[in-house]
């Protein structure tokens, strides 16, 4: 059997999903959108699986998440819906439940965080609430794994018996009630044919939902009759259709809760949260704390833990490479194959694999920040800044991570609440200069601008941000025309993150990255190796002078001539930078016949300070590395879009470098 897990954001849905499935999870995307879909087999029941639908507040079709949920329930027809409700915030959570119940699918409600309610002296009469709503209500605590076995048993029983909700009607006698009643009778046949409950269809039709109207294929006459009934209801009720239905639902919830819920006074959790918020969102403390937290995360990830693990992994890979290298030599393998394995596969995939610890460590911190509830505060505090470029405060963290590495930054956009924001943020992240470009900057600034090194470095970072902002404003106005999702966001109480959720997320991101490393990145590394190793007649070349890559670079070098960079060796370095940005430096040192440490002394042969400037601007802005592109492709769900980003970035880089070069020549 298949169950759909539905609930609000911040209600512990992911925690419950992890409890239900353990690590048997499959992560994918819903067709055609960047909304993540997770499914998993319920522990100990290999024929029953649960699909984790996105966190939503309502079943309208204004967001992709809502549409996906609705389409899943109507289209995939799950055997039962598991609706998780945050018992500490029961009124607003039940608002979604009422809409789910009207869909007439076997449903079980899980009352989560009951331990918190009880701990504060409150209580909820689950049986009473079950009578009010007409479906089983099971109190649980997902974080403490209490009541979960019971929940599974009830869920399976409800699905096996195909037990439909026993209550159909959620309104008091009055204009709204009459209107829903008459509309649902009118459309009954259409609804049955479309496989939608007539009551759900009627309420959505009254709210002006065009998607449902299309699904029912009503004729003009029927549409007018519905409109007439709605107008009459609006007149009698004194509220418009949307407000009238929202009020009807909240009115029912208030009455049901009044009979079954005994709320405690201010909860301990809320008291603590309010106290923390006075500092973390305080007028003078909020921003300094946010930037300190980010700096700390960066320092720990890229400076301490991540760097240490990365170095360890690099050494491990090197040792393994040497071992294989020697073994292959001893075996006497054909030198070309030998080179393919060692210099293509091992070198290419190995250099990318050394990112893995950074990604895992970074996601450890990110999931802790997200699960504690701090990320919502960050969005609250920084929203004003991000709004200027057409985004919301939610995007700031992925953008900042972009300064470390674009790969996890792009992956982190998953948590953004709208498709539009996700796409726009993903596009902007490559403009945040990543840490792999730092060796290039430091090499060139030391060689050409030793007196102004910090200033030039800072200037480069700021220039990247500036171009990014310009791109955001322009593409926000043209490409991403869709209306921004309203920034109406909940600030949940602070909570301790569940170690299980944090570990699962780290594992999932690591798996995701490894999959890329052994597919896209492997292919790209082998391709570059091929170009470097052979000449046009497929003979093996030494040194690089006559290789296919040099040939391609000579062919491409006229493109770079207007930037003051006509030498083929520069084009070669830029092309190899595609695999990883640090490679630009190592390629230059190979082609100039020196070691990396002496490189800054001989760069004068290829560059002047002015062309160095142009080169720096170009490397700052041109195509992201292959690992980042592979991630982009995955998030955009389109090869075409990822390719578009590459071309677009190169074009922008060229234009900016050209302008910088021409302007610099004037001085």
């Amino acid at each position: 059997m298949v169950f759909a897990l539905v609930g609000n954001q911040n209600c512990g849905k992911t925690t419950l999903f992890n409890q239900l499935t353990g690590s048997n999870q499959h992560v994918g995307n819903f067709p055609g959108v960047t909304v993540e879909s997770k499914s998993g087999v319920i522990r100990g029941r290999k024929n029953d699986s649960v699909v984790d639908l996105p966190g939503i507040y309502s079943l309208r079709t204004y967001t992709q998440e809502e549409t996906v949920t609705r389409d899943f329930i109507l289209g995939e027809k799950p055997d039962a819906i598991l609706n998780i409700v945050d018992a500490t915030n029961i009124e607003r959570n039940l608002y979604l439940s009422l809409q789910i119940l009207s869909m007439r699918v076997p449903t079980v409600i899980a009352l989560n965080m009951m331990d918190e309610v009880r701990g504060n002296g409150g209580s909820i009469d689950a049986e009473g609430l079950s009578r009010e709503l007409g479906v089983p209500v099971v109190p649980i605590s997902a974080a403490k794994n209490e009541g979960v076995d019971d929940l599974i048993a009830v869920l399976i029983r409800t699905a096996e018996k195909r037990e439909l909700p026993k209550v159909e009607d959620f309104c008091r006698v009055g204009p709204v009630h009459r209107c829903i009643h008459s509309v649902s009778i009118l459309i009954e046949d259409h609804a049955e044919r479309a496989g939608v409950s007539s009551r759900f269809a009627a309420t959505k039709l009254i709210e002006g939902d065009e998607e449902i109207a299309a699904r029912l294929s009503l004729d003009q006459n029927e549409i007018e009759t519905v409109e007439h009934a709605v107008l009459e209801m609006e007149r009698e009720e004194g509220l418009d259709r949307m407000a009238a239905l929202a009020e009807m639902r909240y009115d029912f919830i208030e009455r049901a809760c009044a009979r079954t819920v005994k709320k405690p006074g201010e909860s301990r959790e809320h008291k603590i949260s309010a106290r923390i918020d006075r500092v973390l969102t305080g007028k003078y403390t909020a921003l300094p704390i946010f930037f300190s937290v980010m700096l700390l995360v960066f320092w720990l990830t890229f400076g301490v833990v991540g760097a240490f693990l990365s170095d360890l992994l690099t050494e491990g890979i090197e040792a393994l490479t040497d071992l294989c290298d020697n073994a292959l030599t001893a075996y006497g393998l054909n030198p070309v194959f030998h080179s393919l394995i060692i210099r293509g596969v091992f070198a290419g995939v190995g250099s990318v694999l050394s990112f893995l610890p950074l990604i895992v460590v970074l996601f450890f911190f990110l999931s802790v920040l997200e699960d504690t509830g701090y990320m919502a505060r960050v969005a609250f505090v920084t929203d004003r800044l991000l709004r200027k470029i057409g985004l919301s405060g939610r995007s700031i963290v992925p953008m900042l991570i972009g300064f470390g590495c674009s790969v996890p930054a792009v992956m982190a956009t998953r948590t953004l609440s709208s498709e539009r924001d996700r796409r726009l943020s993903v596009m902007l992240i490559p403009f945040m200069s990543c840490s792999a470009k730092l060796p290039i900057y430091s090499l060139f600034t030391m060689a050409f601008f030793p007196d102004y090194a910090p200033l030039v470095m800072l200037g480069l970072y700021l220039f990247g941000i500036l171009v990014g902002i310009l791109v955001a404003r322009i593409s926000g106005a043209f490409v991403f025309k869709g209306k921004p999702t309203p920034f109406v966001m909940e600030l949940p109480n602070y909570r301790l993150p569940s170690p299980k959720s944090v570990l699962l997320l780290m594992w999932e991101k690591a798996k995701d990255f490894l999959k890329k490393a052994f597919t896209v990145i492997l292919v790209a590394s082998v391709a570059i190796w091929f170009l470097q190793t052979f000449d046009a007649r497929l003979n093996v070349v030494e040194g690089g002078e006559g290789s296919l890559l040099a040939l391609v670079s000579r062919f491409l070098s006229p493109i770079f001539a207007p930037l003051g960079l006509p030498d083929w060796r520069i084009s070669t370095a830029l092309i190899t930078g595609f695999t990883a940005k640090e490679t630009v430096v190592s390629t230059l040192s190979v082609l100039l016949g020196t070691t990396a440490s002496e490189l800054s002394g001989v760069l004068g042969a290829l560059f002047t300070p002015v062309t160095a400037m142009s080169f720096l601007v170009f490397t700052l802005l041109y195509t992201p590395c292959v690992a980042a592109i592979a991630t982009l492709r995955r998030e955009f769900r389109s090869r075409f879009a990822a390719f578009g980003v590459v071309v677009f970035q190169c074009a922008i880089a060229w234009v900016c470098a050209f302008l910088v070069y021409r302007v610099a020549l004037l001085f």
């Binding site: 204004y62 915030n89 949307m242 709320k263 609250f380 004003r384 109406v488 909940e490």
Partner: protein, 96 residues
């Protein structure tokens, strides 16, 4: 008076919810409907967005969106709101 003008720490009753499309739907879904009691908690460091408390939870809204919500300050409400019945306020025993 509109919600963006409500001073931090003060309570009010919603009298009408404006806006349109996705914004209006979201406001209503989150429980901001006429006759609901609401309290302004604080403003973000840059003055915007606003943090509110409604139906026993915290919600943030941009000032431009809050301006679409008409309110009547608690002191001027037809039936005066006391702390005991106010669900917006953390001190109240809402729901009883």
């Amino acid at each position: 008076m509109t919600l963006d003008q409500l001073e931090s720490g003060k309570c009010a009753v919603i009298s009408a919810v404006g806006g349109e499309g996705a914004l209006r739907a979201r406001l209503l879904d989150m429980g901001l409907i006429p006759r609901t009691v609401i309290r302004a908690v604080r403003r973000a460091p840059m003055g915007d967005p606003i943090e509110l408390r409604v139906r026993g939870y915290e919600l943030t809204l941009r000032a431009q969106d809050a301006a679409k919500i008409e309110i009547v300050p608690a002191e001027e409400a037809e039936t005066p709101i006391t702390c005991a019945q106010c669900k917006a306020c953390a001190r109240g025993r809402g729901g009883d």
